[in-house]
Structures are given as structure tokens and as C-alpha cells.
Assembly symmetry: C2
Homo-oligomer: 189 residues x 2
Amino acid sequence: MTTVSIIGNGNMGTAIGALVTEGGNAVEHLGRGAAPISGEIVVLAVPHPALAEVVAVHGPQLAGKVVIDITNPLDFATFDGLVVDADGSAAADLAAALPESRVLKAFNTNFAATLAAKRVGEAQTTVLVSGDDDEAKQLVADVFTAGGVKVIDAGALKRARELEAIGFLQLTLAVQEKTSWTGGFSLSA
Amino acid sequence: MTTVSIIGNGNMGTAIGALVTEGGNAVEHLGRGAAPISGEIVVLAVPHPALAEVVAVHGPQLAGKVVIDITNPLDFATFDGLVVDADGSAAADLAAALPESRVLKAFNTNFAATLAAKRVGEAQTTVLVSGDDDEAKQLVADVFTAGGVKVIDAGALKRARELEAIGFLQLTLAVQEKTSWTGGFSLSA
């Protein structure tokens, strides 16, 4: 039994939490305020601008834990770029801010509805995970594979740059109704 | 009737050419050597390192034409990054080298086998196109929609950065057998 703590009460946190329980593991839903964190895995299911606050409030509690960044660091003023360095990522920034944590990127290429349905069109929903800690990635893969989605190791944390590019493009396509919030990208075997 | 000239004789050029004829339009297959180019659309179906040579040989002939860059500018020495600027793209570089042409990015997120099959898993194959010339994008959409694939306008040429990130990640996943050369990403409505 793995416990997953989820910070953030939006539709992504809800959908991710449901996958955890459907896989037979335990969920702890937390708001953004200070509180004890019991999970080995902590999902920061907050918008990108809120990450700094989460680090400020919870940083020391996250030491040693597997921390999942799900954010898409869009420039919401222009919807035409990201606010992170062109050769970096929000996940890399988070890892730098939480050097004692095992930071992974995941779920940023998934819409909440496709996590809930576990399908994108006819395909099983794929969660792409990147990170530098293979054991942490395996733990996450075990929890969410049990929950009913496909989990693919997309490589080192450096690949979060590409995952954030996919998430960004997918958001621009959804906003323009070129894909839907119940659709988006899927990965075929 | 639109004529599409294809420079490059690899599996991508072959698959793209087949879509053109299946849609009732005309194909002209050219090698990389100097030759007249009759198509309104010219697909540079060559590997990224060959683009400079194509520009040197064919540059003046490409003035006024819709030129499609299909490349993924991987650093093949490391397979761990791209050789273009982090905030740029091969397509942006090509557009700078061919200022008289109407440069689009397309097909770099498709494997040849999924263009030939017109399916990725259960989904219709989607060709993502970016560029700054809406008329050129519409012409390309008309030709390849007639050929049996779905064509989605992915935005301005600036979005080639994200398309190249998708193409890069997809190649790394295929090489590691996390997806197959007959699979990869698809986009669901």
C-alpha cells in the first residue's frame, strides 16, 4: 500500500486521486495550507504560478519524498509561450528549489477528463513520466498502472522540456477547439 | 489539381507522395540534385543535416512556393537534444534561409508507416502543420485531407518549436521501444 498526498483541490487533483484509490492505494487530499504530509508520493496538483508558494509552505516536509510536478508553465498573458527558460522546464526549476526531493514530471500532458475516463478516444490514456530517479518512476508507474492508465517512462528530468512543449501545444489546440478537453494526444504502442 | 514536388527518396517522401496521389493530386519526385521544380508545394523530405544543401542547390527555385520542412533536428551524437536554438526550430532556421518562400512545418510528428496506414492505432493519423501563411496551410490541408489523413493547423511557425519537441520525444520513445515505428502520438478530437 502506497499513500499519495495530493496538494490542490482542482479537477486534476481529483482525477489523480481517483486513480490512486481505484488501484487499491491510499490518498490524502490536502489544501495548500500547512499540514502534515504522510504520503511517500506527493502530487503538486496546482497551477504553475502556485508552485513557489507550495515550496515556501511545504518545502522542508517534501525532503526525501517523490514529488510530482504536473504543471504547464504557460504565459497566460499571451498564450504564446512558456515562462520558463527555453532550454529548461518548470520541473527542472522545481527540482532546483527542492534539492532534497525526488522530483518527477507527470500528468501535464493529460487532461483531467481523460484521466477520469482512462481513455483518449479509443486508446488507453497514457501518462508520460520523466525524472532522474528510476526507483521513484517505478513507484509511480506501479501506483497508476494499478489505477488503470498506461504509464510510460519518458526519460530523464531533462525531457520535461519536451513534455511541457506537448502540454502547451495541447492546451493551445483545446482552446482553439482543434481538440477537446476530453481528447488530446494519446500514445499508441 | 495541385502538384506537389518531393525532394528526397526516403520512406517519408514515398509515404507523403502516396497521400498526394491518393487524394487525386499530382506528385513530382525529385532527388536532391538540380532539376526544374514544378510543384506549388515542395516537400523537403530529407534529414535535417541535408537542409543546408537543399537550400544551396534549390534556394532560388523555391521562391514563392509553399515549402514544407519535415525534419527533426536531433543531435544524433547524443540523442539527448536538438541542434537548433532552444527557443527556435529547424523550420524557423529554414524560413530565415528562404525568405522568399512560404515555409511550413509538417509531418515531423508522423512516422512513415502511420502516413501509409492513415491510422495510428485506432485513430486516424493527424498531420500537425504550423506556419505563418494561412493560405499555404489551407492548400496543404486540402491536399492531404483529400489523401485520407486529418490535418490540424497547429498555429504560427513559432509552434514548430513544440512540434519538433513532440517529434524528438517520439523518436526517443520509439528507439527505446516504448512506442513502435508503426505507432506514436495521435490526436483525438
